[in-house]
């Protein structure tokens, strides 16, 4: 492994960790936001350098391949933009006194630890390590969800914590089972947990063990992905935590869990006798899509609304990956990226909206395009994008998913389309209320940081019109890997 490239991977891990340490120690809390932004930026740069530098050969613990590089770059990018957004957001929270200076230090340190955990989960080559990393990220988010110390926040955090812990346990058992399945073939010891080793020998593993393992992993990590009926923690965690955390949860943490599921899907797909992961994932995907679509209608809290839409989209993505095949996988990847960008942009907008309106109740927010055009139109574009309308990126992925599905299994496409339509109706209904009509609620001009949300939306728009050839080739390659 060449020294340069190892540095890149190491940097991705050490910058957040170091930053966290600094933030904890940092006496001046005003600086924390700045440090946070800088650290995130550096991490992003390190991640980008992965493109130019040669990749390290898969090691004992770390691995960089085409699959996870997508996730890493996306992760660090959204992490960076979110840190920018959170700087302005947290400043306002400080003014209104919802947060205090010590909170602030804690918050930013946690933010970096979370980034560390997620990056570690992505680059880890060892399924045990991956498990640890995912749990680390989860626990940090639990702490941040509860940061407001309000009754609701604490309850949301508690719910998240308990359900999360059960998920952790199940995932761990799955991991152990995978080890047991691998051990006779690979031999005892560390090797039996190294993913790059497992994937080569997967064909000779015991299919029954592997199948049971996958079920536990699907449920364990699926809890984090927020698939129905394991989703219960997700809406409240999104609604009660600070908005940057909602953005990160929807935009990133779900992807982390999804990434884990994908890894094991590959493992299972490599073993012909084991149960096909496809049907399971398709079922869970459809369930989540339909369930979330219906749940969207009765929402009163704007952040919870978009949390449910995250569940819906995770359903679509899992469905796509479950369908498999070059088209569907391509669509799944694209949909995941687009959803991360769009959803975090929406949460950026929602955060500022909730701050200027002083409420999260949908019924008390009206006519945003009149009172705050900048935020209002950002919300409109975001919702239009998330609802899968052109010319924005999600349209392309939904186009591919639906059409390819209908061509292959017409009867699967019907519920899919149905769910999409139901969800669309709900989102549009709420959007009409929020963005149009006579303005209601706080009219104060907002000192928002428009750059993050509009840059996200611009990216989504560009991707809807034009995907650069190298990106496409790369996606297609990854789609090929995913089988």
């Amino acid at each position: 492994m060449s020294a340069v490239s190892f540095d890149a991977v190491a940097a991705i891990l050490f910058i957040p960790a170091g930053a966290a340490a600094i933030l904890v120690a940092l006496p001046n809390y005003r600086m924390t936001a700045v440090v946070n932004v800088i650290a995130s930026l550096l991490t992003l740069l390190a991640a980008l350098s992965l493109f130019v530098t040669a990749r390290p050969a898969p090691g004992q613990y770390l691995l960089v391949d085409d699959l996870n590089i997508v996730f890493i770059v996306l992760n660090t990018f959204v992490g960076f933009t979110t840190s920018v957004f959170s700087a302005s957001y947290i400043a306002h929270e400080l003014e209104t006194g919802r947060l205090t200076a010590p909170n602030l230090r804690f918050y930013h340190a946690m933010y970096q630890i979370m980034m560390f955990g997620m990056n570690l989960a992505f680059v880890s080559n060892n399924i045990g390590l991956m498990w640890v990393a995912v749990e680390l990220a989860t626990l940090t988010t639990v702490l941040m969800v509860g940061i407001y110390r309000t009754h609701e926040a604490l309850e949301a955090a508690w719910k998240y914590f308990i359900l999360g812990s059960v998920g952790i346990a199940l995932a761990l058992f799955g991991t152990i089972l995978v080890y047991m399945a691998a051990q006779p073939v690979v031999g005892a010891g560390n090797n039996a947990m190294i993913w790059s080793v497992l994937i080569d020998k997967a064909a000779r593993f015991d299919p029954a063990l592997l199948s049971v393992a996958f079920i536990f992993l699907l449920l364990g990590y699926g809890t984090k992905v927020g698939l129905a009926p394991l989703h219960a923690w997700l809406p409240d965690a999104h609604a009660e935590g600070p908005t940057p955390i909602s953005a990160v949860l929807s935009g990133l943490l779900l992807n982390v869990a999804l990434y884990a599921v994908l890894r094991f899907k590959l493992l299972l797909a490599a073993n012909p006798q084991a149960i096909g992961p496809g049907p399971l994932m398709v079922t869970m995907g459809l369930t989540s899509l339909l369930f979330a679509a219906f749940m969207l209608y009765r929402r009163r809290d704007i952040k919870r609304l978009f949390a449910y839409s995250s569940i819906e989209h995770m359903g679509i993505i899992v469905f796509a990956f479950g369908m498999g095949g070059p088209l569907a996988n391509f669509a799944g990847l694209q949909h995941m990226v687009m959803h991360s960008l769009t959803k975090s942009a929406i949460f950026f907008a929602v955060g500022h909206i909730a701050q200027v309106k002083g409420t999260q109740k949908i019924s008390e927010i009206r006519g945003l395009t009149e009172s705050h055009p900048g935020l209002g139109w950002a919300l409109v574009i975001g919702v239009v994008a998330i609802a899968g309308l052109p010319p924005l990126g999600i349209f392309m992925s939904e186009f591919l998913v639906v059409s390819s599905t209908f061509a292959r299994h017409p009867w699967l496409a019907i519920p899919l389309v149905f769910g999409l339509l139901i969800a669309f109706g709900a989102l549009l209904l709420r959007l009409t209320g929020l963005a149009f009509g006579e303005p209601r609620g706080g009219m104060a001009p907002v000192q928002a940081s428009y750059v993050p949300m509009y840059s996200h939306l611009a990216l989504v728009f560009a991707a809807g019109i034009y995907l650069p050839a190298p990106l496409v080739a790369w996606f297609q390659h990854v789609a090929g890997i995913l089988g």
Partner: protein
């Protein structure tokens, strides 16, 4: 040879540029003139380009592939006869509308909500017509819907408009999903989304049927076929009038284009029965649409409903063409197809004209409710004249254009006995009856529209203050009226202009018309049937002027003004006139029963009491009650039930997880 299409693509690009410019400039004073002027110029330029192409080499195809859209397919664009024709329709409409908007737009209360989306809307329609692969087609299609939605939402402070916009966009995306499924079938699992690969790949019987049905759902929902029409009379009037004109006159035609492109072009040879569904739906749509229009008292909604009727006529003709094509009668199929396209053109003319008129009335009086208008013919002489011409054309009266196309459709229907299949034999004349009924009702409807709005005595003070609208608007309306007359008296040229399209899609064409003596049109043979708009026009003018001359030469010129005969009551109040509702009453008595489940209840005061008697009429939109309310009800029910899942205790959530785990494990245990 892709220069033409490349050139044409510059148009939409320029329009999009204008849209972006409008975002920046929309609050400036001269923004309105700037944007609409730009739109006018661009549409005109596009029109000229197309004209040049048609004049030079009508038949030939030019295509181009841009490295946009779906990576491995690319954004393909193609110009052939069909798209050329629809480009003419779109850009003619666009140009005239922009001209109208130059004046009308000044009265806009929220220009920053209209100006950016108007050029985008035009661009979207152009792109749909040019697109040559499923992705770009759907992208432009939905972009078009999105832009028009934004325009509908322009006056969003009115709750009704917001509702209209929401319903509109939901229906639009329903249609898009239907189209998406159709294209999915056509493209097959390999995902070959380019149209030219779809052309060569012929789907099986079932697939073809499914595609046809999905197209009826997808394109039909956009065009406003019953029962998918519910959004149309809400959304079209909600937009600013020039946009209503675009949506009603042009966008519905783009939907027709989508249907033709897929069903006639991509789907290959139709099955013999494929025409039946289209025919029936077309006929029913025509009758129900015009009946609804008759019951309306809101001028713009009346026009929207009559759009539904015309769409029905068009689809009925298309169904005929499909039936004849499927049964190897290309010449007649060409006749029916020509009728459909001709009617597309005509409707784009007079519907835009009428909406412009409605817009003029709106600016002059601020009223859309006919029952508050009346007597406008004295206040708005020019507007009322052109509006009258529009009414004559849409009522399919000779020598105007509406009659020419409907006459062709009837001629096609008369050829139906040659059809081999019983179903068609019986259905076609029935549909013919429906079309005749619709035509007759259209006359009634527009007698009402013009009579109540422009004639009679003034019903409310708003009319007193009304005065003629600006020159731009009048010019636009005059142009359209001229088109209506020209297309009516010289239909031969239009028909010959359409021949390349029919040749490419049907494989046959109508005989050359412009060579006929006296410029009359002869679908099959002169001995069978022929129509000469020019001659009729000349005859009527001559005999009318002759009569007038004779009268004024020999009869008395004396003329006296006096009060109208009030049956003994001196100057009855204007409220005593017939209103829109009372005018429709006889027809409501005849058709209302089954069409709207209309009920009239009379409340008589007690004998001797002096209260007025009351007549209450309640009508139902049957389609709405049968199709839409159950769906919304079901969704409401489901959400209510599911919503409890938001309020469970952690233990119950854990139970869910646990049960799910156990179920999965059981599945695994029972796995073979």
């Amino acid at each position: 040879m892709n220069s033409t299409v490349a050139l044409l693509l510059c148009g939409p690009a320029a329009l999009l540029g204008t849209a972006i410019l409008a975002v920046a400039a929309s609050r400036l004073v001269y923004a309105t003139r700037l944007i609409y002027g730009a739109a006018l110029v661009i549409s005109a330029a596009l029109l000229v380009t197309i004209a040049g192409h048609l004049a030079g080499s009508p038949g030939e195809v030019s295509a181009i592939t841009l490295p946009l859209g779906l990576p491995w397919t690319g954004a393909r664009f193609r110009l052939d006869g069909l798209s050329a024709f629809f480009l003419v329709v779109v850009n003619l409409g666009g140009a005239v509308t922009s001209l109208y908007a130059l004046g009308y737009g000044r009265h806009e209360s929220a220009p920053h909500r209209v100006l950016p989306f108007y050029p985008a809307f035009l661009a979207g329609m152009n792109l749909v017509v040019l697109a040559d692969d499923a992705f770009s087609f759907l992208l432009s299609w939905e972009f078009m819907s999105l832009a028009s939605w934004a325009l509908v939402m322009a006056h969003h402070s009115d709750a009704a408009n917001r509702r209209a916009g929401t319903i509109y966009l939901v229906m639009a995306s329903f249609g898009t999903l239907a189209l998406l499924l159709a294209f999915g079938l056509l493209a097959g699992p390999t995902g070959s989304y380019a149209f030219d690969t779809m052309r060569v790949a012929h789907p099986g019987r079932f697939a073809a049927g499914a595609v046809l049905g999905l197209m009826l759902l997808g394109a039909g929902s956009k065009a406003g076929l019953v029962p998918l029409h519910a959004w149309l009379p809400l959304a079209h009037p909600a937009a600013p009038s020039h946009v209503s004109a675009l949506m009603s006159g042009i966008m519905t035609k783009v939907a027709v284009y989508g249907f033709i492109r897929v069903v006639f072009d991509l789907l290959g040879e139709p099955a013999w029965w494929s025409g039946i569904a289209v025919l029936l739906i077309g006929g029913v749509t025509a009758v129900l649409g015009i009946l609804h229009a008759l019951m309306e008292k809101d001028l713009k909604r009346l026009l929207a409903y009559s759009t539904i009727e015309n769409i029905g006529v068009i689809f009925a003709s298309l169904g005929l063409a499909l039936a004849f094509k499927a049964n190897a009668m290309p010449s007649v199929a060409a006749l029916a197809f020509t009728a459909a396209l001709f009617h597309v053109l005509n409707h784009s003319f007079f519907k835009s004209l009428l909406f412009f008129g409605a817009g003029a009335v709106l600016t002059a009086t601020g009223e859309r409710d006919m029952e508050k208008l009346g007597g406008l013919i004295h206040r708005l002489p020019v507007t009322s004249f052109v509006f009258l011409l529009g009414c004559v054309s849409i009522s399919a009266l000779p020598p105007f254009n509406g009659f020419a196309s409907e006459w062709l459709a009837f001629q096609a229907i008369l050829q139906s006995p040659e059809l081999p299949h019983w179903g068609l034999k019986v259905i076609v004349p029935a549909v013919g009856g429906m079309l005749a009924l619709a035509a007759a009702l259209a006359v009634a409807c527009f007698v009402k529209a013009f009579g109540i709005t422009f004639l009679g005595r003034v019903r409310s003070p708003v009319v007193e203050r009304a005065h003629e609208v600006d020159r731009w608007s009048l010019a636009a309306m005059a142009v359209l009226a001229a088109f209506c007359l020209l297309a009516g008296i010289l239909p031969g040229f239009v028909i010959d202009g359409l021949s390349p399209v029919t040749l490419s899609l049907i494989g046959d064409r109508m005989p050359v018309q412009t060579a006929q003596p006296w410029l009359s049109i002869v679908p099959i043979a002169e001995s069978r049937s022929s129509y000469n708009g020019l001659l009729v026009f000349v005859f009527i003018t001559i005999s009318a002027s002759l009569a007038a001359f004779v009268i004024h030469r020999f009869a008395s010129h004396a003329l006296r003004r006096g009060p109208a005969w009030g049956c003994g009551f001196a100057d009855a109040v204007p409220a005593a006139q017939y209103t829109a509702v009372s005018f429709a009453q006889p027809i409501r008595r005849v058709f209302g029963g089954f069409a709207f489940r209309a009920r009239e209840t009379v409340e008589m005061p007690a004998p001797g009491s002096l209260e007025p008697a009351r007549l209450k009429v309640d009508m139902h939109d049957v389609a709405w009650e049968i199709f839409y309310q159950p769906i919304t009800g079901a969704i409401d029910f489901a959400t209510e039930r599911l919503n409890h899942l938001q309020f469970l205790t952690i233990r119950r959530y854990l139970t869910l997880v646990f049960l799910y785990l156990v179920i999965l494990l059981l599945v695994l245990a029972l796995w073979p």
